[in-house]
């Protein structure tokens, strides 16, 4: 039955493709991308959120490969480029199978032909959860291989020979007697064939592109100022707008005195919404000045009494309770009873802001008959839905033109700023470009929740855990994003990794204790649930090793005997850093390991102590096994950037609330790692032919625990709360 359905769908897809081929010319092959890959709760939530927004469109194609008459290959990518080199990776996969050079591929992100592409592309488009490579990798290769087979078949029929005797290379088909013919000359014929059912992919040993370092396709315009991000766009008749939302989440505008604002040269209109006041003007500075000149009286509402101390206390109370059981394996209560000793510790992580360097920005033109959005987003489908909801237009009347993204880290999985832009644009007749000030961006982010993890282990006579109880207290991103928790009552993101730790345990019990901060909305932050649980587990295991008087690396190896790939990665790290050699006086090394986003990562930090609390990072080494590597340069760049991104937060970052308001307004109060404090990140890749894993967030997830474990090794001080500076340490 199911098969039958799939066949029918395939048939209709083929017809659809024919239509596209006819419309565009050349040979067009669609890559039918499956829904989001599993193994990332974040990705699943995004998919579910789509459903909750009333998305009822049928599944469609995710990517298209088109070979033109000039032999150039256009790849219409389903993935937004956020800086991870995703599109280059995708292009490499297609080029590999299609047997063309990377320089023959043009990537198009925005659909060139809205009628044909928009719906099919938008509906399940989302970039996030480190899924891009993992979930596109096979279908894209398949699309490339399909096109190659059709082209070879066309050549064979021109030469009246068997296609098995022909082969493709460098954008040409070669025949048995040395004849050759370029793809461009074959596309019309190839486009008349039905799609083959049995597509054969190349074997890894035959790859000549995948696995080689390739230069990114999107970077040349990023070094000469030509790359246009959303904030850079200009449309005819467009004005700039900037907004101030109530400083307390949930508050409302009571009244506005705009006399002074209207006198600011360049200011056009003042738009007053329920919880937001916006100014439109001919330039951004006039907007900012206009906003400053507004005299707004707010009704702060219920949250205005809440300080960080209140949130802290509520979490401390929550962590003492039992929660909804996310998983239970073995008899933990008995284990704890019978254990020769027990160990318990509480780990805390603060609210965090994403703060990408490009402040939130969105260009909108709302008309009676439609709406256009130009925006860098990880979720163009939601952008379309929210614009439709605000304007009352039909989703198909809303066109989303996706743009380069000036950093996201989860920020652009949320579309609050898009909704706001559309609300403002609905009140005026002209297109507007919403640009938030940094202050607005930082105080109206959605924040990675503050969490407390209480871990209780039953320890055997040799000092190893036989099992542990892991209580996780904090807000639910999943519920905020999707609208409610799943029926289980457990936020799958919050307990990710915790319910399936890499260590061998006889018993395990994980509680999810939902304690909503209410005072701020919560959301994904680079590393998502994987990062939050890994932090607690890797600090805890390190403490257990320390308590047992054992070396933290060999201690972990004992608990990881069932994970050969992880052992290999640990051994590689040990050899790269000469783990067994003594550490110089005044120094210490910390370690963390995880199986995250389908990759295995081991991170080691070596610190030296400068005085009582001065920290110097001497060395930062990370080993990654992310399966088959498409582009080693990108993998390295992602591991470096991701690790330092995580380091920045682990050292410095925390969002404080006072009177319901976020206290950090700009980078002078929300410190970021600078080049002067960024150690070189040594990345070592484990050669592997396994299915590719994600790397965009893998480094981020491991650095926090590695850092705190290194602090303990260096200073003999077990810090259990991030960020490190909170405990008086500083970068010396």
């Amino acid at each position: 039955m199911k098969d039958q359905q799939v066949k029918l769908e395939m048939a209709s897809r083929r017809r659809f493709l024919k239509g596209i081929s006819a419309a565009l010319g050349g040979l067009v092959v669609g890559a039918w991308l499956p829904p989001m890959a599993p193994k990332s709760a974040a990705a699943e939530a995004v998919a579910q959120g789509k459903a909750s927004l009333g998305d009822s469109l049928a599944d469609g194609f995710g990517a298209f490969v088109r070979v033109g008459h000039d032999g150039r290959v256009a790849l219409i990518s389903p993935k937004a480029e956020m800086g991870q080199g995703i599109q280059t990776g995708i292009a490499m996969m297609v080029a590999e199978e299609l047997e063309v050079g990377l320089d023959q591929i043009d990537i198009q992100e925005a659909p060139p032909n809205a009628e044909l592409y928009t719906d099919a592309l938008l509906q399940f488009q989302a970039t996030g959860g480190s899924t891009s490579t993992r979930y596109t990798w096979e279908p894209l290769r398949r699309a490339g291989a399909t096109a190659r087979m059709l082209l070879v078949r066309a050549a064979a029929s021109v030469w009246e020979t068997d296609s098995n005797l022909c082969h493709a290379r460098d954008g040409k088909v070669f025949g048995p007697t040395g004849q050759k013919i370029s793809y461009g000359e074959l596309v019309d014929l190839a486009a008349t064939y039905a799609l083959p059912d049995d597509v054969i992919l190349k074997r890894p040993e035959d790859f000549h592109l995948i696995g080689t370092p390739a230069t990114r396709l999107d970077t040349p315009t990023k070094v000469n100022g030509q790359a246009k991000f959303t904030i850079d766009l200009d449309m005819p008749g467009m004005l700039i707008t900037s907004a101030r939302a109530c400083p307390v989440y949930g508050g409302k505008v009571r009244q506005v005195d705009d006399k002074a604002a209207r006198r600011v040269p360049g200011v056009r209109d003042i738009v007053i919404l329920e919880d937001v006041v916006a100014v439109t003007a001919t330039n951004t500075w006039a907007c900012f000045q206009g906003l400053k000149a507004l005299n707004i009286e707010w009704d702060y509402g219920a949250n205005s009494k809440i300080d960080s101390a209140v949130v802290d206390q509520k979490l401390q109370d929550a962590i003492q309770r039992d929660g909804v059981i996310a998983t239970e394996k073995g008899a933990i209560d008995a284990s704890l009873q019978a254990a020769s000793s027990k160990f318990e510790a509480v780990y805390e992580q603060p609210f965090l802001s994403r703060s990408p360097l490009e402040p939130m920005s969105c260009v909108v033109h709302v008309r009676d008959d439609g709406c256009d959005l130009w925006v860098g987003t990880q979720v163009p489908g939601f952008a379309q839905q929210t614009a439709a909801a605000v304007t009352g237009l039909k989703p198909e009347q809303v066109k989303v033109h996706n743009q380069w993204i000036g950093g996201a880290f989860g920020r652009r999985l949320d579309f609050d700023f898009i909704t706001q832009a559309v609300r403002i644009a609905s009140k005026v007749s002209y297109p507007v470009k919403l640009t938030w000030s940094r202050e607005e961006d930082m105080t109206h982010d959605l924040y990675r929740p503050q969490y407390a993890d209480r871990m209780t282990a039953a320890v055997n006579g040799e000092g190893f855990p036989v099992g542990w109880q892991h209580r996780i207290a904090g807000g639910s991103i999943f519920a905020r994003y999707v609208g409610s928790l799943p029926a289980s009552g457990v936020d799958p993101d919050a307990v990710e990794v915790a319910v399936d730790p890499i260590y061998k345990l006889d018993s395990l019990k994980v509680h999810f204790i939902r304690e909503e901060p209410e005072v701020v909305p919560v959301s994904w932050w680079r590393g998502v649930g994987v990062l939050r649980s890994t932090f607690a587990i890797e600090c805890f295991v390190d403490e257990l090793a320390h308590n047992a008087g054992k070396d933290p690396l060999s201690y972990r190896k004992t608990l990881l005997a069932h994970k050969p790939r992880v052992l290999t990665a640990l051994d590689l790290l040990a050899s790269k850093v000469a783990w067994d050699s003594p550490v110089p006086r005044g120094r210490g090394r910390g370690l963390a390991v995880g199986e995250v986003f389908g990759s295995i990562v081991v991170t080691m930090v070596e610190l030296s102590a400068i005085g009582e609390k001065g920290v110097r990072i001497e060395r930062l080494v990370t080993v990654v096994d992310c399966g088959l590597v498409t582009n080693p340069t990108s993998v390295k760049a992602q591991m470096e950037g991701g690790t330092l991104f995580g380091l920045s937060a682990a050292l410095f970052n925390e969002i404080d609330i006072k009177g319901g308001q976020v206290q950090q307004e700009n980078f002078h109060a929300y410190r970021q790692l600078r080049i002067s404090e960024a150690p070189p990140v040594e990345v070592h890749i484990v050669p592997s032919a396994e299915a590719p894993g994600g790397v965009g967030e893998a480094g981020t997830a491991l650095i926090g625990p590695a850092l705190l474990n290194a602090v303990n090794a260096t200073f003999g001080d077990r810090v259990r709360r991030l960020p490190l500076v909170r405990s008086g340490y500083f970068i010396a």
Partner: protein, 408 residues
């Protein structure tokens, strides 16, 4: 006939009314100007609250005071105060209930103002929208909460006299003297106080500490005061909060510029300058540093202070201390970088210069949140040695102490 008389009467009444209104308007405007010169709003407004509704905390050595609501709200403000009560408050420091004010309220200066000026201020305050905002209780420990003590204090320290012009001096000098010593109450910050918290008239304008900030010597001393400032430089400082070669107003002085001085007329600002330049020179306090010959560029040593300077400061200030974007960021030659106690240096590092009505190149972010005491001590030490050529090490404890000091 009666009708005509009535009509005439009505007409006359209307005329009188119109005249009353217009003279009221003038009085209110004059009051507004004087209230601005007296900077009432700075103290009688709590952050984020309505102007003049009070509630701003003053951390004084003997406890915390909260300023009262001076809007015309009858219940919580001064709405049903009589003229005499208001005048008595400003001239004698006595409240409506007969209690003595603490001299954080600068009635010791306001007492110089004549009754007409004080009533103009009252007229202005009464023209404002009444705000219902009850006063916060002061938090003052014994014996300072014994307000009768203030009776004695006033007896000794309050010079309950109106300003008397000196006919030997120019009109400008006299106007300046009135503004500085009366409504402007400059001496309240710039004159040292004795152990009874009274300003020392012998040290008039010689500089003092206030809430951790150092209010510099503003006598006409060439070496320590404003003797070498030109009149134009002084006026520019009052109007823009910046004078070339002398830096940007920071801390409480930035607020004085923002709320008070920059709104005064050119002639009044010149009058203030004239008067200050004619004060008795007193060579005490932080001396004016010589402008350094061109400083070398980036330092070669890798100390923490210069690292932080590179991270957070150099974008605006430059290694040679000459300011990068514009001369407002010049550090070389400023008292701030040559005061071995680093009072104002630490003040500006911790609190920044947030005055948002000022041009962008006058503002400075506060760095108290992201850098701890060790880091700021290292930074301050670097700045003093690099720009002030002082080999004074600032200790983390000093930063900690400076953090705990705050006026509000």
């Amino acid at each position: 006939m009666r009708k005509i008389i009535f009509g005439l009467l009505a007409y006359l009444l209307v005329c009188v009314d119109v005249m009353a209104v217009s003279s009221d308007k003038a009085l209110v405007a004059e009051g507004e100007y004087l209230a601005t010169a007296a900077d009432c709003v700075a103290c009688h407004t709590a952050p984020g609250e309505k102007p003049f509704a009070g509630g701003l905390a003053f951390e004084l050595p003997f406890g915390t005071l909260y300023t009262p609501n001076i809007t015309p709200d009858a219940e919580t403000g001064i709405g049903d105060w009589t003229d005499d009560e208001f005048v008595r408050a400003l001239q004698e420091g006595i409240s409506r209930e007969g209690e003595h004010y603490y001299p954080a309220f600068p009635y010791t200066s306001y007492t110089k103002m004549p009754r007409e000026d004080i009533l103009a201020i009252k007229a202005y305050l009464f023209s404002l929208e009444p705000v219902h905002q009850p006063a916060r209780e002061n938090d003052i420990g014994f014996p300072f909460n014994q307000r009768w003590g203030m009776y004695l204090w006033n007896f000794v320290f309050l010079d309950d006299k109106r300003f008397q012009p000196d006919l030997d001096q120019s009109e400008a000098w006299n106007r300046g003297a009135y503004l500085v010593n009366g409504p402007g109450h400059c001496g309240e910050c710039h004159t040292p106080r004795n152990i009874f918290q009274a300003t020392q008239s012998s040290e008039l304008f010689a500089g003092a500490d206030i809430g951790g900030w150092r209010a510099y010597n503003i006598t006409s001393s060439d070496s320590h005061g404003i003797g070498q400032w030109s009149e134009d430089q002084l006026v520019s400082y009052f109007r823009e909060g910046y004078a070339e070669g002398h830096g940007v107003a920071g801390g409480p002085m930035a607020e004085v510029v923002e709320y008070s001085l920059r709104h005064l007329s050119e002639s009044d600002l010149r009058a203030i300058a004239t008067y200050l330049k004619a004060t008795d020179p007193k060579a005490v306090g932080v001396p004016r540093p010589a402008v350094k010959p061109k400083l070398a560029g980036a330092p070669l040593n890798e100390d923490l202070g210069s690292k932080i300077f590179a991270d957070a400061c150099v974008s605006c200030h430059q290694w040679d201390g000459r300011g990068n974007q514009s001369p407002t960021a010049t550090l070389s030659g400023l008292k701030t970088v040559s005061d071995p106690r680093a009072s104002n240096l630490l003040g500006i590092l911790l609190e920044g210069n947030p005055a948002s009505s000022l041009p962008v190149n006058h503002r400075m972010p506060d760095f108290g949140a992201i850098y701890n005491d060790q880091e700021l001590a290292a930074l301050a030490t670097f700045v003093l040695s690099h720009f002030g050529r002082l080999d004074t090490a600032i200790e983390p404890e000093q930063v900690g102490e400076r953090r705990s000091l705050s006026l509000h």
